[in-house]
Symmetry: C2
Subunit: 310 residues, 2 copies
């Protein structure tokens, strides 16, 4: 495939678009602000189509030069039918046949998947997970997501909702979670809860996690302890994943993962203490490598494999 692809990463705040060469190099990027287009799915679709047309034209490409468009979305996507079933954080998106709609407007094949699945796909094929058959990718942010590569394939589950590491129970009892359950892992390490926890710890009304990071870098004990505790929670959740799935690699990504260096020791320590012998001896905990580009690159891989196979 000497053709390019276009990778789109739809987030609750930004929409990132990239023009990607067949070898997986991003040669141009552009951005949309999500909230400008939330009044109706059609607005967002029209904006995507316009941005894609400009991206193609500005880089002296033609429609025929684009093998396909891959789109990652923050919610439930029917990968086979090409339908966005539901986006919890973008109003109005219910059962939108995005594949067909975009293809009609652009005359380019379109492929969809969940955003975390595409980050996982990107890290697996082009990032830190290259060559591994069994890995787990976890994204730490406002929500805590997960993607699974098992037996050398992305595992999506029966209804495309597998990988919800954020909603592993951390304890048999615990605080209510947005998902409807309680005691979920996300309730201990999601951004909002970390901010609250930090505000309490440092007795400030508002403290940004970036500030706690800077404090930890400066050697502040309470800040270091803060990240260590988060790492322990993450480790406790990952013990279950390690024992159940026996992966070779666990990739830690997402915004909160910028504090990786202050959490990784606690994560590794907890797994070492709690997980089963064979499982823990072979699993490596690593930081994601592709950063903010992972979604675009995963979308590129999605297109490439859908058209060419592996």
């Amino acid at each position: 495939m000497s053709l390019c692809t276009i990778g789109v990463d739809v987030g609750g705040t930004n929409i990132k678009l990239g023009l990607v060469t067949s070898s997986g190099r991003i040669i141009a990027k552009t951005n949309l602000i999500t909230k400008s287009y939330i009044h109706h799915p059609h607005h967002l679709i029209d904006a995507l189509v316009a941005a894609i047309r400009i991206l193609i034209k500005d880089n002296s490409k033609r429609i025929e030069d684009i093998a396909g468009i891959g789109i990652g979305l923050p919610g439930l996507v029917d990968v086979v039918r090409g339908v966005v079933v539901f986006l919890p954080n973008i109003p109005g998106w219910r059962d939108v046949p995005l594949c067909v709609m975009m293809r009609q407007k652009l005359n380019i094949p379109v492929f969809l998947d969940n955003d975390v699945n595409l980050i996982t796909l990107g890290e697996w094929r082009l990032g830190i997970g290259k060559g591994y058959a069994n890995l787990v990718c976890i994204t730490l942010g406002t929500g805590v997501g997960g993607g699974l590569v098992l037996n050398n394939a992305l595992y999506r589950g029966e209804a495309f909702v597998a990988g919800e590491i954020g909603h592993l129970p951390l304890n048999e009892r615990g605080p209510r979670c947005n998902c409807g359950g309680y005691g979920c892992f996300e309730r201990a390490v999601g951004n909002h809860f970390l901010q609250k926890k930090a505000a309490g710890l440092f007795r400030k009304k508002h403290i940004r996690l970036e500030d706690v990071y800077v404090l930890a870098r400066g050697g502040n004990r309470r800040a270091i302890q803060f990240w260590d505790e988060i790492g322990t929670h993450i480790g406790n959740a990952l013990v279950g994943v390690v024992n159940l799935l026996n992966p070779r690699l666990i990739i830690i990504g997402g915004g909160v993962a910028s504090n990786y260096r202050f959490m990784v020791q606690a994560i590794r320590r907890t797994i070492k203490v709690r997980a089963m012998k064979v499982q823990k001896e072979m699993v490596a905990i690593v930081q994601a490598k592709l950063g903010a580009d992972a979604g675009i690159l995963g979308a590129h891989i999605l297109v490439k494999e859908a058209i060419l196979g592996r």
Copy 2:
């Protein structure tokens, strides 16, 4: 394949052997007592070889009529190399190249796997799981085991130890477990712990779980409550599995599962209350169907698929 197979299910107490037709019907069975052969792996291997020869001869078959032998073992098995890496409950079994040793003696191809994987394979291809692409099988007994069928294939993990549902953490803190960790699911629902719990509840030095079953059948409130609590623990562990793997089916098997009818409501209730919407709406909780034959039939499928593919 009009040839027969021989399925062997090695347990800590009994070893079951079955002669199975190509269509998956067991036409003859035999048994060995495990503890008679624990002095050295060679004793057990010789006993297996002798029992297999008798099984073939007594049923008027010849060596050439047997397509292969499948053996399930309670421990860590290297499926690819055909080596028993370690059996925690049968002394002396470390890195035994069982495949080669048996094949040399019998001149029949031999295939190995973990016992719970074979139970899962049996239930998936010949039992209650027939036709499902994504299912989880859990075996409740002295230990709590698990097998995973994902994307239409048995998932064994990076080192063949995936599926350890019994060692999902139930809480961030908890009692020490045999596995070296703590707070494991098995520590709440393994046979020994249930017996202790029942003894305390009914203020008897020894009470068998069968007795608690009979009491529950007779309407005894404490006994019914006992099984309901066990079901709740099982449900709490399965919430994580359901959210993470989005299976279509969860099969409950093993000895303790004979109390299925007194536990299933609590299991379903807990999943309904705690698991995520899409995941919980599609997952069915069912009882295993093949009973004590599941291991033999799974071993049969292992041979069949190794030789013929699917």
